[in-house]
Amino acid sequence: MPIPGPSSTYPDVQTVPTSSPFWLRLNGVWVWLEGVMPGVGVDSDRPGSEFRALDGRRYAQRAAVARRSWSLSYRYATPAALSALMAATESEDEVWLSVDSALWSNMLPRADSAGAGPVVDCNGIPLRALEPGHVVAPRVRAGAPVTLSAWAAEPGEVAAIVGGGSPVTLTAAAAGRVSVTLVPVLDTLTVTAGAAASAGWMLAEGSAAPASFEYGQAMPCPVVVDELDETLTMHHDGHYRRDYTITVREVG
């Protein structure tokens, strides 16, 4: 039997990318993951346990942090997206994932939006103020403008920000919402809470603060990219297409 030759002269990856909100930071460079299928499932896992006492009372223990997993699917994967993902599976350097929706709402870790101080009204949501001196080091995308906003309970310095070129101070002239926009020069900012009590901290890409408070999404975040699951599909004219499923897990 003769050895079959190439069954198709068509490329087996999609050449016209679809829209996608996902980005990977590989070796210090942000790469757009084009072609991800809509309907990405995000699982959040927080280890925990419960203890039941003799009389039936329940006591719950939970880990201090939760970690997420994203299941990305491709019907048609572009060479660029595939290459980025495969490079990520091989990378020994830290790989970051970014999702546009989180960048536009609140990039801070959840625990850094509020603290244990006095209660501050954040547009109808009562949150406790961060302790003065509390330090947050959110990951950002260098060059993309970000806006830090907060609800201050009193006038004064709300936060000091390092990482946007010159140090920037977020100051409240009176109680209420305050914000400041800057362009990060590094992929990490350092934000230190000032003396004025504040809560409802938000960091979002863009030059305006989101209208209402949303808890931090911790994005970008470090991830590990699992091996790609591949499905080969043969078309009626002998062409092949490859579909992929990839799981990206948050680490750290």
Partner: protein, 771 residues
């Protein structure tokens, strides 16, 4: 740093803290986050078999943690910082999201293992205080008085001294050595410490009734109004001057004073700190002749900002030339908000290098030490310090031991050579049915047998545990091994031989060489002398060759040397040898012999026997054991219990008290225990605690001694389980509570106050003490 007070019983829903292994200076193990971990702390029975009513003796903790390694953290890693090593000091703690930490003990890394495919390295940990130790115990051996004087010493005294030796002082240690003149702890039998400050300072004290002080050379003072003075001269960095041995039961007043000789001091503060005491202090500048000038008094007392402390400010005014001062003045106050006293001022003109032109400033004050101070918390002490800054908060490192008398008389301090110091500490504690436990906070605590039986009220009651709400079950067991029908307690009183001072009778032998020692010309040999089965005090440091009978050589140590091993010819003169001896404990000494003869010297007498004999003013041996029996006869006993307290207990009264207590515990047969009780996580649960257990459904109301705390941790949970010994109440406890509630009361008083309450009432409400 003490643990945060809000880390007790955890809330219903609880965010798990991160467990951290910190191995300072060990690269990737510095502050390493821990994955799976386990930790055990157990009170191990020693004197009493099984778990009868209480456990005594030591606790040696163990732990194991799994940490995430950096790449190639293997034994063969080429980067030293990444190598996995054992025997490194480490601490373990839990840290919550706010950064608060709960200590989980000090450890030493032990066996470490991992593999190439797994993600974690497992590190076993040994409790640091015990890991790999073999430290000789160094109990002080005083030259005076002889054993026969019978000065009573509470068994906590040797424990206190040995704890201090291994880094657990009960009195605060000066962290600025030059600043502290005198520290007198108030929590039992520990020694005071004096420091040399500058060129010359004088510390004087007055001993009140009920106290006795021992100095380096024995008894310094005792009885009401006895005074003592110690001078810390140039070059002396730390001079122990006083040892207090007190059994408790009386209220005493310790008068303390501190005196500063001013040399080149332009200004400074002399501070008296204490946790107790109200009264009057005085401050006075003395002239160069030592006479007080213009003495000023001021009241001490409680103040919120400055409790129990006084401050004396010292100033000198200088001439316009700056090379001489024109006046010295001092004033005092007892609070930051209190008014200063008037200045005590002395005007004179002196050059700083004037030599004899000195003034001194003295502060004098009384410190009342009530009975409760004997069981005081760490930090109860009185001190006199001198500092050139107004801040003295950092003058002391916090004490690391909490002591309390174990009761009775320890007899002759005893520390067998060859035993580790911790072994001796635990032997003393367990022989007296107590325990010495190092808490996770790093504080060593002495617990008495009454503490372990729940017969004393803790200073901070921890409250009852509701079994239904806190435990998953209470599995109980009654083990026949936990009871006995006969108790046999053996103790050995010392046979004391004192030197007959002034007579020609040879002083008793503490140690003698068992073989002929040879010393090459010009060389020095060091001999570790271990007094087998005996203790000595007042070693005679002078070695002489015996001659005609005389008090001089009878009360000296003995040496005879020849230039040949067969003792042919005449003995060498004393000048052929230079011998020094240092007593390191009541049972050990170090002897150094230097050969100053031109040829090899042999220490041998005229009969060819070895001859290097260490004599002492007083020697005790333990050769005649005594037995106290309780319960059934030897022949009829089914479950006899034999306990040997030699040599930790030396008096009949002490042994009898222990035998009675033991018999009360083991003869009832009703003790029971609960093992591996899973409980709601409560960080404050600790071995040695006695907690009331209550359970409404089963009518349970009992005291429980926590004998083991076990943690099993992972990212999902921290599971805690306990071993408990349930301590039913006996009439002895009943009587003890009454004695405590009504000191001095007769049985008739107690019966009258008791009213219609019966023993059964105490069994259900054992902490009830009111009438």
């Amino acid at each position: 740093m003490p643990p945060p007070s809000d880390w007790g019983r955890t809330p219903d829903s609880y965010l798990l803290p991160q467990i951290v292994l910190d191995v300072p200076g060990a690269g990737w193990l510095s502050g390493a986050a821990v994955g799976a971990w386990s930790l055990d702390r157990e009170l191990v029975a020693s004197t009493i078999p099984g778990n009868i009513r209480q456990r005594t003796g030591l606790s040696i903790g163990s732990a194991s943690v799994t940490v995430r390694p950096v790449a190639r953290s293997t034994p063969w890693a080429k980067t030293p910082a990444r190598r996995v090593t054992t025997g490194i000091p480490a601490t373990l703690y839990a840290e919550d999201s706010t950064g608060d930490r709960w200590p989980l003990g000090s450890w030493v890394t032990d066996e470490t293992d991992g593999d190439l495919s797994g993600e974690g390295i497992s590190v076993d940990l040994l409790e640091a205080s015990y890991a790999g130790r073999d430290v000789p115990p160094l109990l002080p051996a005083y030259a005076n008085p002889p054993f026969s004087a019978g000065m009573p010493i509470d068994p906590v005294w040797p424990i206190a001294r040995l704890l201090e030796q291994v880094g657990f002082p009960a009195s605060p240690r000066p962290s600025i050595p030059d600043a502290v003149l005198l520290v007198v702890p108030m929590d039992g039998a520990i020694h005071a410490t004096a420091q040399a400050v500058g060129a010359s300072y004088v510390i004087a004290g007055e001993i009140a009734d009920g106290w006795s002080l021992l100095g380096e050379n024995g008894l310094v003072a005792g009885g009401s109004g006895s005074g003592f003075t110690a001078i810390a001269g140039p070059g002396a960095s730390q001079l122990p001057i006083a040892e207090q041995m007190r059994g408790g039961g009386v209220t005493v007043t310790l008068e303390m004073s501190g005196t500063v000789w001013l040399l080149d001091v332009a200004q400074g503060w002399l501070v008296r700190l204490s946790e107790d005491g109200e009264g009057t202090c005085s401050v006075a500048v003395h002239n160069a002749l030592g006479s007080p000038v213009d003495e000023q008094t001021f009241a001490t007392g409680e103040s919120e900002d400055w409790p129990g402390r006084v401050q004396v400010q010292i100033e000198r005014t200088w001439s316009s030339l700056g090379s001489e001062w024109t006046s010295t003045r001092a004033r005092g106050r007892s609070s930051l908000t209190a008014d200063w006293s008037a200045w005590s001022e002395h005007s004179s003109t002196h050059s700083p290098d004037g030599g004899t032109s000195l003034e001194m400033v003295q502060v004098v004050g009384g410190v009342a030490i009530p009975d409760t101070a004997v069981t005081a918390d760490p930090g109860r002490f009185a001190a006199v310090a001198f500092t050139r800054t107004t801040s003295y908060d950092g003058l002391y490192e916090p004490p690391k031991a909490v002591l309390q008398p174990l009761g009775g008389d320890a007899g002759i301090p005893w520390a067998p050579a060859g035993d580790d110091v911790w072994q001796v500490i635990q032997d003393y504690a367990s022989a007296n049915l107590g325990a010495v436990i190092i808490g996770l906070d790093g504080i060593a605590r002495v617990l008495t047998r009454a503490d372990l039986a729940g017969a004393t009220e803790p200073s901070e009651p921890l409250g009852p545990i509701d079994v239904g709400a806190e435990f998953d079950d209470l599995p109980w067991a009654i083990d026949p091994e936990d009871s006995a029908d006969r108790v046999e307690v053996t103790y050995t009183p010392p046979a004391i031989t004192d030197a007959d001072v002034g007579s020609t009778t040879l002083a008793p032998v503490a140690w003698q060489a068992e073989e002929i020692l040879s010393i090459p010309a010009g060389e020095t040999i060091t001999i570790p002398a271990v007094f087998e089965g005996r203790a000595a005090v007042g070693i005679f440091e002078t070695f002489v060759i015996p001659g005609d009978p005389s008090p001089w050589w009878s009360q000296s140590s003995t040496v005879i040397a020849f230039d040949n091993p067969d003792a042919v010819g005449s003995p060498l003169p004393e000048s052929a040898l230079r011998i020094s001896v240092t007593q390191t404990s009541p049972t050990t000494a170090t002897i150094k012999v230097q050969n100053r003869h031109g040829a090899t010297v042999y220490l041998v007498d005229g009969n060819g026997e070895p001859c290097l004999i260490l004599r002492a003013r007083s020697v005790a041996t333990f050769e005649t054991p005594q037995v106290i029996e309780s319960g059934a006869s030897k022949e009829a006993a089914q479950r006899p219990l034999e306990v040997n307290l030699t040599p930790w207990v030396q008096s009949k009264s002490q042994a009898q008290a222990i035998a009675d207590y033991l018999w009360g515990r083991v003869s009832g047969g009703g003790a029971w225990k609960a093992v591996t009780v899973r409980c709601r996580l409560d960080w404050s649960l600790e071995i040695g605690q006695v907690r009331p257990l209550v359970h409404g459904e089963t009518d349970l109301r009992v005291q429980a001694l926590v004998t083991k705390v076990h943690y099993d941790g992972s990212p999902e949970q921290i599971a805690q389980s306990l071993d408990l010994v349930l301590v039913p109440w006996t009439y002895a406890d009943f009587a003890a509570i009454w004695a405590s509630a009504m000191p001095g009361a007769t049985y008739a008083d107690q019966a009258a106050a008791q009213g219609d309450r019966t023993y059964a009432d105490f069994a259900t409400d054992p902490l009830w003490t009111g009438a």
